[in-house]
């Protein structure tokens, strides 16, 4: 068995599982946020009317809550959702509720690693499609809807069809101008948005060993865009150090069996990768940044669980230091802890000197919620993960997905720019 299969076997109390087996897995951790939380509350109300008990959760200590999509409250409806969520966590005794305006808070997937909420070997589900992100820590991490999350909160388990695993091997080390974002865009460009539907995507090879923890998280984050059930990476010393520094202890990492076989293996050479973008309106619509350098932009958006981690901000600062942005540029650090580190490292000053507007941690315009959504025909380069029609605002706005380096270089020139071509 591979890592995904071993975690699902352990979670469902079986010695062995194979792809296509249907299991009810006991989950170790569960997360809801200000969109899926009120959705769960609505399901609870429906269940109560049907006479199904919603008096007690399965285990409040294993459930955590984030406020990220519409915060700081974008309008009255969002404010009411936040109030409802606070009442819910109080009523059910959920202590790990990251509230905006009260210290650490941020995008749920960022908190999952920044706060070591999920550990290697665990089975983790969240009410958000990019829950896959956390698989970079060596956990089975998978996104679900409201009904399924309500079921998990009440029963501590949920059904899964064991996925077959595609293995993506990266040989060598990424060059200075190429980031994990370019690698995952290359993969999605090759296999398409349905290329790993219902499957697990596992990453490995020397290129992954060389990669930092935060860069690995960019890979697993966007496995969702290839349709994958989960993304996963065998945890190594870098992961243990990262989590150890955040107070994590007592976990059981899981690795592939020696005789494991993958359904398919894809091999990439790091030296052959280059800065890429995904053009509107699909993450699979990939082109070399250099090949579309005539595309004129109105905005640059540096934010989200995909592209506003500390290293993403450092990459942006490397480009923006001593330069000015030519188009509207927003930077929204993905969590308060990252914001603080960016401030301590002097990154925030670099951004302000470059003319950037800095916003609070939020999913914000990534999902078209607030904080800089796009108007009709507006063209944006963005470090986020999706560019479907209307994703960031008007259905006729256009989003080009790119790495933090490409987004920052493009902010300086006002056109799609390969960082190697920046004067």
């Amino acid at each position: 068995m591979n890592i995904t299969e071993k975690i699902l076997a352990r979670a469902s109390g079986k010695n062995n599982v194979s792809p296509d087996d249907v299991v009810f897995a006991n989950v170790d951790k569960a997360m809801i946020h200000d969109v899926s939380g009120p959705g769960v509350i609505k399901v609870f109300e429906k269940l109560a009317k049907q006479g199904i008990s919603v008096d007690k959760l399965w285990d409040p200590s294993k459930i955590w809550v984030a406020e990220d999509h519409f915060v700081p409250s974008a309008d009255q409806v969002s404010a009411e959702n936040i109030v409802q969520l606070s009442k819910f966590t109080k009523k059910y005794g959920i202590e790990k509720h990251f509230k905006y305006g009260m210290g650490q808070y941020g995008i749920c997937h960022t908190l999952s690693h920044e706060e070591a909420m999920v550990l290697p070997g665990e089975a983790y589900v969240g009410g958000d499609s990019h829950t896959n992100t956390t698989g970079a820590l060596g956990a089975f991490a998978c996104g679900l809807g409201h009904t399924d999350m309500a079921y998990v909160l009440l029963n501590g388990k949920i059904w899964f069809k064991v996925p077959e695993t595609y293995y993506f091997k990266l040989n060598g080390k990424l060059s200075e101008h190429v980031m994990a974002k370019d690698f995952i865009l290359r993969i999605i460009g090759d296999i398409g948005t349905e290329g790993c539907a219902y499957r697990a995507m596992q990453f490995g090879g020397t290129g992954i060993n060389e990669m930092s923890v935060e860069e690995r998280l960019t890979l697993t984050n966007m496995t969702t865009e290839a349709g994958a059930k989960n993304g996963i990476i065998a945890p190594d010393q870098k992961i243990f150090d990262y989590l150890g520094a955040r107070g994590a202890k007592n976990f059981t990492p899981v690795y592939d069996d020696a005789n494991n076989e993958y359904a398919k293996i894809f091999e990439y050479e790091a030296s052959e990768l280059e800065p890429l973008v995904a053009k509107p309106y699909s993450p699979e619509n990939v082109a070399a940044a250099r090949d579309i350098s005539s595309i004129e932009l109105d905005k640059a958006y540096i934010g989200s669980c995909t592209g506003a981690k500390l290293e993403d901000l450092r990459a942006v600062a490397k480009i923006l230091k001593g330069r000015k942005v030519k188009i509207r540029t927003e930077i929204l650090p993905a969590a308060i802890s990252i914001y603080k580190k960016a401030l301590d490292e002097g990154l925030v000053s670099i951004f302000l000197d470059a003319g950037v507007t800095i916003g609070p941690p939020t999913c914000g315009a990534c999902c078209g919620a607030h904080m800089g959504v796009l108007a009709k025909d507006e063209v944006c380069v963005s470090t986020t993960n999706r560019n479907f029609p209307g994703r960031m605002g008007h259905v006729e706005s256009k989003t080009y997905l790119a790495s933090p380096l490409v987004a920052a270089a493009s902010a300086v020139t006002g056109k799609i720019t390969d960082p190697r071509d920046l004067k």
């Binding site: 249907v22 509350i41 399901v43 999509h69 519409f70 809807g145 409201h146 059904w159 078209g368």
Partner: protein, 160 residues
């Protein structure tokens, strides 16, 4: 069950067009229905009738995990989506929440069904009858678990 086809000859119809992100803060199901398919077909709300089916291409419902998407379609009156394939979270949300049937069809059925065709679907027999064109199509049978959850009326009513 009988209904008319609303056909979108398109792959990768994602949750951002089925129910745009700005409405994710809404949790009133009838209110969500007013914005169903807004990103792709602004006339959808005015033309959809109770019992209609959506017919679409590959990877229907890809993107976000928002259950708002099948909810908005269901509360618009859509009883089933017939597609060449489905994205995983949309599929399980539709079934586990008992909002609508995600029915996988083959290329022949997809090409043959036109917008407005009247269809009769029998889940028991795994058949789709096109009453307008007098043709029969096969649908992919549901897997054992999915079939049981559908018969039970959603995940909470299913007893493992």
């Amino acid at each position: 069950m009988k209904g008319n086809a609303i056909k979108y000859d398109k792959d990768n119809i994602d949750t951002d067009v089925i129910l745009p992100g700005t409405y994710l803060k809404l949790h009133d199901y009838d209110e969500l229905a007013k914005h169903a398919m807004e990103g792709l077909d602004p006339d959808f709300h005015s033309k959809v009738k109770d019992g209609d089916y959506i017919v679409a291409g590959r990877n229907f419902g890809c993107g976000s995990s928002r259950e708002h998407a099948p909810i908005a379609l269901s509360y618009s009156g859509i009883k089933a989506v017939l597609a060449l394939s489905f994205a995983r979270i949309f599929y399980r949300n539709a079934v586990d929440g008992a909002f609508l049937l995600p029915i996988e069809i083959d290329e022949d059925a997809y090409k043959s069904i036109s917008n407005g065709d009247q269809l009769e679907i029998s889940v028991e027999k795994n058949t789709i009858k096109n009453l307008t064109k007098n043709k029969d199509y096969k649908m992919k049978p549901f897997s054992e678990l999915i079939g049981k959850i559908i018969v039970a009326g959603g995940l909470f009513k299913y007893k493992p």
